[in-house]
């Protein structure tokens, strides 16, 4: 590591703010301007990225029971809200949405909290076996979730917790990724002098965490929270095993909607649109932070 990197420990991890600065530095030397071809290709990619979503909204707004017709519908009909209402009722999307919010919310809060604590310990505290334990943490990312579902299913059945939300929540309360992500961030975002100063004042560990670590970690906690929420909202395997149609999450409800439960394809599309709406809203509000977070996780991971 060079000294020039270490003189800017606070600004380094804030991808959003920092990008502007590094861009200027790069631009001064050599970064090339994009030509029309670049914009054209990007526009095609953007179209491909957005078209299925836009088409979902179009399909969801039609009156047709069958959407697979030639030519397919290419503009909005007037039935969006009626179809949404039907999908909401038929697939029990109200319960499903509430369940998904509870599940994803609980998982997000717990993952962010525990990842910050563990990440802080791995980044800034010295203790026996810390190197080994960190390696262990990283290594566990290789373990596929499939490897745990049979015993978990049997245990939860034993406890009488089948079809209950805590069954979905409990196994996902922490992630190795989150721990590693917070460690990488705090390594540079949290100046050791701040912890020392608090220590000299006789602050206990809890006070240090509360008054020094959490404030320094806040930007990364927000990003990790968004990434975790998206992940938990989209989780499929374990919810579909652990929950039934009576008490589903959104993904489970959409699965039942897609397996011939409702014959009206416009209603299915309305359900699909509703199921992704909360993520889209979060994405429209915080897209920039999510982009920054993924890039930041990438460069250090």
């Amino acid at each position: 590591m060079t000294t020039s990197e270490l003189t800017l420990p606070q600004t380094e991890p804030q991808a959003g703010k920092k990008r502007g600065a590094s861009r200027r530095v790069m631009g001064a030397g050599k970064q090339l301007h994009a030509g029309p071809v670049t914009y054209l290709v990007l526009a095609v990619f953007a179209l491909v990225s957005l078209a299925p979503l836009v088409w979902t909204a179009i399909a969801a707004s039609r009156t047709d029971h069958r959407l697979a017709e030639t030519p397919p519908p290419l503009w909005f009909g007037g039935n969006l809200f009626k179809n949404m209402q039907t999908a909401w009722d038929e697939a029990g999307l109200g319960t499903a949405m509430l369940n998904s919010v509870i599940v994803a919310g609980a998982i997000t809060i717990s993952t962010v909290l525990f990842s910050t604590l563990a990440g802080f310990a791995f980044a800034k505290l010295r203790f026996r076996f810390s190197g080994f334990l960190l390696l262990l943490t990283i290594g566990t990312m290789m373990i596929p979730p499939q490897l745990a579902v049979v015993p978990l299913y049997l245990w939860m059945a034993d406890l009488g917790w089948s079809n209950q939300l805590q069954t979905v929540i409990l196994p996902t309360l922490v992630t190795a990724f989150g721990t590693f992500f917070m460690r990488q961030y705090l390594l540079q975002a949290l100046p050791s002098e701040l912890i020392e100063a608090a220590r000299v004042d006789g602050a206990s560990s809890i006070r240090v965490v509360w008054h020094v670590v959490f404030p320094a970690a806040r930007p990364a906690m927000a990003v990790l929270g968004l990434l975790t929420f998206v992940f938990a909202w989209n989780d499929f395997l374990w919810p579909i095993i652990a929950l039934n149609q009576q008490n589903p999450t959104v993904q489970v409800a959409l699965n039942s909607l897609g397996t011939g439960y409702v014959p009206d394809q416009a209603v299915i599309m309305a359900g699909a649109f509703l199921g992704t709406l909360p993520l889209l809203i979060a994405f429209i509000l915080f897209g920039k932070q999510i982009v920054g977070g993924i890039m930041q996780g990438a460069i250090k991971g």
Binding site: M1, L6, S22, G29, K30, Q31, L32, T38, Y39, F45, V48, S49, P52, L53, T56, A59, A68, P72, F114, A121, F122, L125, G131, I143, P144, Q146, L147, P151, Y153, A157, L170, T179, Q184, Q188, I195, E196, R199, V200, G202, S204, N234, F236, L237, I240, V250, G258, T259, M269, A272, G275, T276, L279, F283, G287, V291, I294, A298, I299, K300, G301
Partner: protein, 342 residues
């Protein structure tokens, strides 16, 4: 900016290397400091205990929860895979030895699922990562509205798996689906995206490609921005054009990141589940009428929770893990070889 390699190579050194920190003070942060003077011995002892124990308290939640809900179950999965466990009669679990594994190895459906997982994995991962590198290269130019482009490219990532698959299923409909309609426009005969082998596997892969290309592009973009500008300058002085710079500077510099994305995508591809499940509709867990796109993930779900043989499902889970380990080992060998030849 630190490269991924550097960040990993210096796991704990940054605290010591922090500029301006006095050696004595630094030790204070690491658990050997003295408490402020004038405090009672009891408080001083409490302070020392706090210093020693707090790191373990902070990492404990992760290890306790992860251990209880991942590591211990993982071992129990071995146990169940050696037993006959039926969903219909959970209380009677009889020892079966290696029966479940033998059963697997002699099952055509297992080999079919393995083959499908491999082919779908390849046709979804390779084009996806190649497109992502190209896309990242474009995003790395000085662009008007660069943030907007990035956010737009990432929208598929923020679409729920189920919703995305339902939409693509409709787009790939046999009679009059959008895709066949477009093919008809350019004079290509309609393809039966749900029944044909390659057609259905391509359709499932396209959902994966659509959802993850932008995500991987951002990871490559981050790595590209960390490549020192003088490498390009010297390449330009040597007369390399943009394309040659991309091939001879960008791609070699991205090698660790490419490896990272290959590993992550491989793990994802091995576990592919939601997309083929929903793409199949009613026959979802079978992976289509002829098992054309039944992946290992689907096969395990089908055997365990549709057919109800949890012992066999455990055996499938372990074979998935073994396959992942083999792939990881091959990956490691290939990178070693690459590094040596450099």
């Amino acid at each position: 900016m630190t490269s991924p390699k550097q960040a990993l190579a210096h796991p704990a050194s940054s605290a010591e290397a922090a500029p301006g920190s006095q050696p004595g003070a630094a030790r204070g942060a690491h658990g050997h400091g003295t408490p402020p003077e004038g405090k009672s011995p009891w408080r001083s002892r409490l302070y020392r205990w706090d210093m020693k124990a707090s790191p373990y308290v902070f990492i404990a939640p992760f290890f306790v929860i992860f251990g209880a809900f991942s590591l211990i179950p993982l071992l129990y999965t071995v146990w169940y895979s050696l037993h006959d466990v039926q969903l219909s009669s959970l209380d009677t679990q009889t020892w079966a030895g290696l029966d479940n594994y033998q059963n697997l190895l002699s099952s055509d459906f297992f080999w079919n699922a393995l083959k499908n997982t491999f082919t779908i994995g390849v046709i979804s991962t390779v084009p996806q990562l190649m497109a992502a590198i190209g896309l990242a290269h474009l995003l790395n130019y000085r662009l008007r509205g660069s943030t907007v482009w990035r956010v737009v490219m990432l929208t598929p990532y923020a679409t729920s798996v189920a919703a995305a698959t339902l939409v693509f299923t409709l787009l790939y409909s046999w009679d009059g689906g959008m895709v066949n309609w477009l093919l008809d426009f350019v004079g290509i005969d309609p393809i039966n995206w749900r029944e044909s082998d390659w057609g259905s596997q391509f359709a499932v892969s396209s959902i994966v490609i659509w959802r993850w290309t932008g995500y991987n592009a951002l990871i490559y973009l981050a790595a590209m921005q960390a490549i020192p500008a003088d490498l390009y300058e010297s390449a330009a002085i040597d007369g390399a054009n943009r394309w040659q710079q991309f091939i001879h500077v960008t791609v070699p510099q991205l090698r660790p990141t490419i490896l990272f994305t290959v590993v992550v995508s491989t793990i994802g591809a091995t576990q592919l589940f939601g997309e083929p499940l929903l793409f199949g509709g009613v026959s979802g867990s079978k992976g289509g009428s002829e098992h054309q796109y039944q992946t290992l993930g689907l096969y395990m779900y089908d055997q365990g929770w549709i057919i109800g043989n949890l012992g066999k499902a455990s055996a499938i889970a372990w074979s998935m893990f073994l396959i992942l380990l083999i792939v990881a080992a091959i990956n490691l060998l290939v990178t070693r070889r690459l590094r040596k030849t450099q």
